[in-house]
Symmetry: C2
Subunit: 167 residues, 2 copies
């Protein structure tokens, strides 16, 4: 029997596992954390008129990707082009109802690609502030990602953003 | 009795109503379309350990806003500083399961603020491509917004974004 506190703990753990898998560049784990037809107990070929199992993903500055093929391909590309990435999550807020959970968090990212001249060295590290909304679904295989939307934060704070609107 | 096709139609209508209310600058309608404690049949003072009724919102380039107070205040500010705004929605994708619906869409925005020198004239119109993920909840009062995350699209297409990652 699930309780609200336990639900929140489990969702927080699933969210942390997702960022941990990204830090490790672990494609199999990332793939497993995204909702799949198997998690829902249906066949790959099953067509649901409400597209209940269709995932969507927005990386910072990107258009939306829909469906496991496009989403997982984007992670394969990102992993291939990232030598180092670390996420410091702040402002994590979780809202759970029934079998769906909404997670809002700030991703304080430190990342580096390969050195421009090639070789063993790491390229320059870049800091980036991103805000993410992650939607999870409860499945027999645990909480799985249904949607991830991440975007660059261009204003320092909500107050700054509101001040900017006042100009 | 709800059916998958009817659910998708209702969610699409709720999503369209949200953008229509923004175009009209109709604060009351915007406020009504966001999930509220009344929609869930609970008192304002009710504390749910899973924060099931807590809404969140990310405007393009902004950090996350959590809770009705902060979210509705942001809309009051945006309405006050927008003389003209029109949304052309494309790539609308809807996924519904149980009492939750996920909407992904591209917002092709044309907007204008007051003229810089004041007076009756409209300032220059600005076009903007934004991608949004909207999460709706089924309530006795209809489908209501639980989360809205909008962000600027900086790459022309998913292919361009992937090409950029390849550099």
């Amino acid at each position: 029997m699930s309780t609200p506190h336990l639900d929140v703990e489990q969702v927080e753990a699933a969210n942390a596992a997702f960022y941990d898998a990204l830090e490790q560049g672990d494609f199999e784990r990332i793939s497993d954390l995204w909702l799949s037809p198997a998690d829902l107990g249906v066949d790959e070929s099953y067509h649901d008129p409400a597209d209940a199992g269709v995932i969507s993903c927005v990386h910072p500055g990107w258009p939306a990707l829909t469906g496991r093929g496009a989403v997982l391909r984007s992670y394969a590309l990102i992993i291939a082009n990232t030598d180092y990435i670390q996420f410091f999550l702040t402002d994590v807020h979780i809202s759970v109802t029934g079998d769906t959970a909404l997670v809002s968090c700030a991703e304080n990212i430190l990342s580096g690609g390969p050195a421009p001249q090639g070789g063993e060295e790491l390229g320059p590290l870049v800091g980036q502030l991103v805000v993410a909304t992650n939607v999870f679904r409860r499945t027999p295989a645990g909480w799985k990602l249904w949607s991830h939307h991440a975007s660059p934060v261009l204003a320092e704070s909500a107050e700054d953003a509101e001040d900017a609107e006042d100009l």
